[in-house]
Amino acid sequence: MKLDNYFDRSLWVFHLNTGSCNGCDIEIVALLTPRYDVERFGIKLVGTPRHADVLLVTGPVNRKMLPRLKLIYEQTPDPKAVIVVGACGTSGGVFYDSYNVVGPVDKHIPVDVYVPGCPVRPEAIINGVLQAWLKLERLRGSGADIEKKIAEVNA
């Protein structure tokens, strides 16, 4: 299997809320509005992780969401990228050290891109998806076996 040029022009995004306050989620939905219109880059929000190429994770991970987060990460078909949106997901944010929060997202699943902000600007999310393209380009490399490289990145 080889990643080709089609990939980064057709990223389907699944949005996963792991206990976020909805601030970042509203900004993600704002991406689809005529003002930002991410569909012009081929980015599309999908309803199920099975269709997704990119996981957009918001929120500090709370205890209830942790198994779901791992499950949804595993349900997403390879090759995939994970983008954490917002301060809570990147560091814990205001919920840092809280008793019912089990840590930033990258403690549990491999994260490729961090988009900081509370809440993030839609432009910053578009930039984050661009960074995910760069990751996929690195994966593509010289066309070597993608599974090996993904295992390398995940390790």
Binding site: Y6, R9, G42, T48, H51, P77, D78
Partner: protein, 335 residues
């Protein structure tokens, strides 16, 4: 078998391949136009026209997951069955001046049956994927299938019946006789009104056949997370996308054959090869215009219906409209 019949046989096989590839390309191309036009109608920029091709190639290189609860052979077989049965319809449809490849062997009734096949494949695939979301989606798809079949069949039967009354010797339900005798020419003023009602019926049935908004209830992304397609990924999902694209071409062509089978070459007083080329181009213009009104316009203008609303819209309102069309046709013939 003589040499010439073998030659014709090989030609037909090559023809099927050509039509299958062209149908897929035209379908994906219109899907791109559809997304662009929908974006423009919502005052967005929209994706490039080739976006469905990019999506398709991307899905082909993605991992193809078969869930643990799924029945693998049905789960993997359903998309293939859907695509094959949809492409088969293309062989029976005349494309403007080009006659159908199997013009002598199939008719409109066969097409109506074949049109139900992708939906049946989707239902079996959804049930076999072992996800509760998918089974709800499959149930809705089944309800919708049973609802839109009645108005669709009403349209087809009434047109065939009227054609048979006008030309008793003609092969009824043969697509060639539909495209050589447009319905508008053989009916009176009341029948004209009836034909408009039947055209309306067919136009409203199309979004459900293609499962686009407002009749995409089986695939509702916001409440069913993708419905019947929820567990499909990679290659299987790509095949379903192709099925949808080809089905768009099928429904558009069906509308053209039944209601707008006119060519442009008599108007331009062309003949021979230029007329042929102009007719083919004109056919594609017609196809895209028809699909714009059947798919894109309805999709942008309306929001998704609930399954009971969608079902009653077809079973009650649209069936009544179709039957009124039948009544007008009958009265038009009797007076």
């Amino acid at each position: 078998m003589s040499v010439s019949s073998i030659f014709i046989f090989i030609l037909k096989i090559l023809g099927t391949l050509l039509i299958a590839v062209l149908g897929v390309i035209i379908g994906l191309f219109y899907k791109g136009i559809d997304r662009k036009l929908a974006a423009l109608l919502q005052s967005r920029v929209g994706p490039p026209i080739r976006q469905p091709f990019l999506d398709f190639f991307k899905l082909m290189i993605k991992e193809n997951i078969v869930p643990k609860n799924a029945v693998p052979w049905i789960f993997n077989g359903a998309p293939v069955l859907a695509l094959v049965s949809t492409i088969t319809i293309l062989f029976y449809l005349p494309f403007g001046p080009i006659p159908a490849l199997f013009a002598n062997s199939g008719d409109l009734i066969l097409i109506v049956y074949l049109l139900a096949m992708p939906a049946v494949a989707l239902v079996t695939g959804g049930f076999s994927s072992g996800s509760s979301y998918a089974s709800i989606g499959a149930q809705r798809e089944m309800v919708l299938l049973m609802s839109y079949e009645l108005p669709l069949v009403t349209t087809v039967i009434v047109l065939g019946w009227r054609l048979n009354l006008a030309f008793p010797g003609l092969k009824v339900f043969s697509l060639a006789s539909f495209s050589t005798n447009p319905i508008w020419g053989i009916v009176g003023p009341l029948g004209f009104l009836g034909a408009i009602l039947l055209l309306f019926t067919l136009v409203i049935v199309t979004p459900a056949e293609l499962s686009v908004v407002p009749f995409d209830t089986p695939e509702a992304e916001t409440e069913l997370a993708g419905g019947v397609l929820v567990e499909y990924s990679g290659r299987n999902l790509a095949l379903f996308e192709l099925t949808n694209a080809v089905k768009m071409v099928v429904m558009g062509t069906l509308t053209i054959v039944l209601f707008f089978p006119y060519n442009i070459s008599p108007l331009l007083s062309l003949s021979g090869f230029p007329a042929y080329i102009m007719d083919i181009l004109f056919f594609f213009v017609k196809l895209f215009v028809v699909l714009f009104f059947e798919v894109t316009f309805i999709r942008v203008a309306l929001a998704r219906l609930k399954i009971d609303q969608a079902s009653s819209a077809y079973l009650i309102f649209l069936s009544v409209i179709g039957l009124i069309g039948l009544l007008f046709m009958a009265v038009d013939y009797l007076i």
